[in-house]
Symmetry: D2
Subunit: 341 residues, 4 copies
Amino acid sequence: MNTGVIGYGYWGPNLVRNFMAQNDCLVTTLADSRPERLTMAQRLYPSLKTTTEPDDIITDDSIEAVVIATPVNTHYPLARAAIERGKNVLIEKPMTMSHTQATELVELAQRKGITLMVDHTFLYTGAVKKMKEIISSDGLGDVLYYDSTRINLGLFQHDVNVLWDLAPHDIAILLYLIDERPNSVQAVGVTHTGNDIENIAYLTLYYPSGIIAHCSCSWSSPVKVRTTYIGGTKKMIVYNDLEGTEKVKVYDTGFEVKSDEDKRKILIDYRTGDIYTPKVDNREALSAMAEDFIRAAAGKGEPVSNWKIGYDVVNILESAQISIKSNGSKITLLNGLGGRS
Amino acid sequence: MNTGVIGYGYWGPNLVRNFMAQNDCLVTTLADSRPERLTMAQRLYPSLKTTTEPDDIITDDSIEAVVIATPVNTHYPLARAAIERGKNVLIEKPMTMSHTQATELVELAQRKGITLMVDHTFLYTGAVKKMKEIISSDGLGDVLYYDSTRINLGLFQHDVNVLWDLAPHDIAILLYLIDERPNSVQAVGVTHTGNDIENIAYLTLYYPSGIIAHCSCSWSSPVKVRTTYIGGTKKMIVYNDLEGTEKVKVYDTGFEVKSDEDKRKILIDYRTGDIYTPKVDNREALSAMAEDFIRAAAGKGEPVSNWKIGYDVVNILESAQISIKSNGSKITLLNGLGGRS
Amino acid sequence: MNTGVIGYGYWGPNLVRNFMAQNDCLVTTLADSRPERLTMAQRLYPSLKTTTEPDDIITDDSIEAVVIATPVNTHYPLARAAIERGKNVLIEKPMTMSHTQATELVELAQRKGITLMVDHTFLYTGAVKKMKEIISSDGLGDVLYYDSTRINLGLFQHDVNVLWDLAPHDIAILLYLIDERPNSVQAVGVTHTGNDIENIAYLTLYYPSGIIAHCSCSWSSPVKVRTTYIGGTKKMIVYNDLEGTEKVKVYDTGFEVKSDEDKRKILIDYRTGDIYTPKVDNREALSAMAEDFIRAAAGKGEPVSNWKIGYDVVNILESAQISIKSNGSKITLLNGLGGRS
Amino acid sequence: MNTGVIGYGYWGPNLVRNFMAQNDCLVTTLADSRPERLTMAQRLYPSLKTTTEPDDIITDDSIEAVVIATPVNTHYPLARAAIERGKNVLIEKPMTMSHTQATELVELAQRKGITLMVDHTFLYTGAVKKMKEIISSDGLGDVLYYDSTRINLGLFQHDVNVLWDLAPHDIAILLYLIDERPNSVQAVGVTHTGNDIENIAYLTLYYPSGIIAHCSCSWSSPVKVRTTYIGGTKKMIVYNDLEGTEKVKVYDTGFEVKSDEDKRKILIDYRTGDIYTPKVDNREALSAMAEDFIRAAAGKGEPVSNWKIGYDVVNILESAQISIKSNGSKITLLNGLGGRS
């Protein structure tokens, strides 16, 4: 599969390297507006054609797949042009700036019969796959909550806030792990830079069944933290992405609620049991993601990071944005594809 | 100082033991409605008078101080009766069920000229004292945020939610550490027991200067977590109360915001420096709290856990309760003492 | 069982408290040469008879059991006198200063038909019991090594070196966990105080089957460490006694040795698997130890901390002492009971 | 500086990459006996000349420096041939199989006036450089001990034991950090593979001033550990190489020895103070090592990893080997260069 890559900034080099290493794929062309980035790429891959014009990729009929790794506000026009030309498209997360744009891309992709996929790399990590396996096999009982802290010293961005930067990881993981769609969204935050772009924000998702999901995101923490608690009626997962070899721990420690007759007292049986730290696959997630895209583009089934996840990440981020700007009001989430569920 | 203790449940034994051990204090009488609890106490302290009637303590003119360690809904009537009799009063946290009750107690105490204090034990820990010292001496620069996770497998209570149980610790610490009063409160939560009492909840406090404080509280986590991040313009504290000897770490890693002329870009200078883990006093906090109460009752100055902190903890909890029941609306905090700041 | 306790220094108060709390036992008399220690005890236990003369306990026919918690050089004469009077005897670790003394006590106890036990408290901890359970049920495969680091800032003692102070814990644990007796001992160390008493020392035990056990002991480490690795052909235990709730971890990560024909290459199959952190009993070990002694003294079977363990701890310490003073020579361990295995 | 690299196995690729990236250096030729390894290298570096004959590098007069990354038993003949041709030589650790070989190489290098350096990469890590800085500025007081645990699941080697594999790191660090030479060596170990090559071993070094250094090395631990304690009269370092950002911690917790008049008691003042975790440079150590070699080869001063360190690592390993095969006898260390100090 001849592939063109647009954007060679922070993430682009990783994408080129991983697509180059796939068997059924050849990166033929790279576009970036900065000639010095292209020079850098050519030194590593002498056979690569380079151009400052994305259009050279989009209009090249020998190219079957386009990988878009440009700033988020350019995702929509580039992806749209590529899909219209019938090319399979992989976009950096998040897919677009709005659910309206995402809806259009998804519908266009379906009409054209091509694969539209968003690079939610975390879905391809050994840790997330292991947690999916545990939850799917009822390893936690009914999921009750998901609570994530994702903070670090971040490059303050001037166009999107910290939720658009960091929360897509948690939202994609949630949509992948839990077989239920949240129905409302709430977010609050503050800015310390005077530019109305939140550098600390908290996102809460509510589910019809009572599940609650919460994410703390910050660019203002010199200590990097990536810790997630996922609790169920039977067990609980502690997922620490910064741990070397013990990223996922399952706590066989739960509680049982028994109500007595007068309903005035709730008794809790404490139960404290073993901890199980499963072995987690170490393969580079980005390589598995590239492979999944190629497989899907070849018509061999829907990718793990499917368009529903890509769409809902944007949908939830947009609702969070509305909530944060309206003092934390609870925003009812749109159904799939802009209201048409 | 002859002291009576009302309530010998979970915390009462610790209070009796610590007050017994003070030099200037004698616990003469203990009240509890359960005779078997009284028997238990008498085995340890043969000299102790016991009674099932709190009134026996309140009406005993030889008793100068009353310690109230009963369920929170009984705090107000017991404390009121004791203050009216001119006794110094120490109440378990939180002080009362509402700011109206708290206002009444505070005003009555001021009229009677006695000491009214709430047992916010954490203010007397070596870790919190060390953090106060660091922040007061400008060790963090301007404080920007406070983010706390306080979760464990908890005894689900049938009258108050998880915020009333766990958040008083964080609120009292915040009021003690930061020389500014929050002006609005927001809270969200869920219940998994069908009784409308939240077992997981998130509290956010906003400050006029832009500080944000956030607390995650849960009774549904088999893993106990007590971690707080306090960030300033220059440094950051990580406070882990479950660490044995390294509870407080100061990260000399910060960022500086410089705005360039067109105000469209915010550049961040990354700075990553040393970590400093100060020695923290190990003395039992409850003993220091008892000593502070006795000192204050003897007219030797205001206690660290002063009535302003006690009052505002209730005030904030009540506002959080209103917020949580109105879908997370932002609630403007009443000024001190029920509106009269 | 009427019990007398001799010695009320560092450990004595814990012993009195735990024996007092047993159902089938009454501590009637306490001896210590320091009257102020006796006064302290009587304040807590008004019914206790006290004396500065150990003989008052040894010659008291109403006393059936004697607990000896005095400096190690007095263990032998006190225990001998008590056993001769037909009393059951519990001695603080280590039993005596030499294997000759230990042999005498053991033989005398057997003739008199009483229980002679050494307080190796660690054998009664939940962590050590769990490890025994794992190893006994072949959970590690064949044990290959035991490697322990037991260091802290210690009170330098003027009569025995750091091995006599800290290594008895490891030696007793080893003798309990592994169904094999070491056959030689090696030790090296240094002193930094100029008094010929090692404050840092390393002990190595060799077993006929090829097992190696190693203990690092130090009084000169401001960081307290209590970490033990126990490896087998199939799995490995990491035992960290300073962990709160995760003291014992079992690593299902092993290796398999396959030799190929020319014997020049050893191929290793790497296998890395899950980690399992079993729940460990939290009951206070000292209470279980007291109970076991009372049970044994009542003729209901041999205690867990039996005389063979007590004897071999002394035997190994004495051999280690000889090794350390002869530049680390390998010392063949005496068979049980001074040569008569 | 034109450079030839001999050996493209486990470490060779890292060396080629880092030397390629240096400004004043060009890797022109690569030798390896396995054609498939050469093919692999040429794909990455199309300009590289490759050969299966090391001699093609040694006899090439355009090559000024030779990097030897072959099995340890080939180090001596290859290095000797290269030095005789007047080339600067960098050898993988350890330098040779014996102090006799090392002496010859060092003396030859001095006669030829070229740079002979051993790749003790750890000396170029930020953590070790920071510790050197602390110790040199008297940050610990007088050093008293060095205790290292370096264990992992290792590839059992069929020619050298675990000490030759793992201990060179600790020995080189010791020689670099401490301005004193050990004067005797002791080692013990076991083999579990029946081939007389120890897979677990313990090394002890003694210094004239009373410093003791101890290293636990093992290939049989599924848990990887890299922890070193370095204690002085005033402070102590805990160096954990597996920590991400907190590799070096300095404990301001010490003890003071005061001897009282009768010399029978040693009193210890406990002092427990702050911990300081300095920022440590993150630059890749191998790159700094390559730069240092190039600088030294250009005649700009002795490298950090100087020949004395390289020589003594071999010297100590050889003495350890003798000790381990003579039941742990204490072996007096040869003076520098085979006896001629």
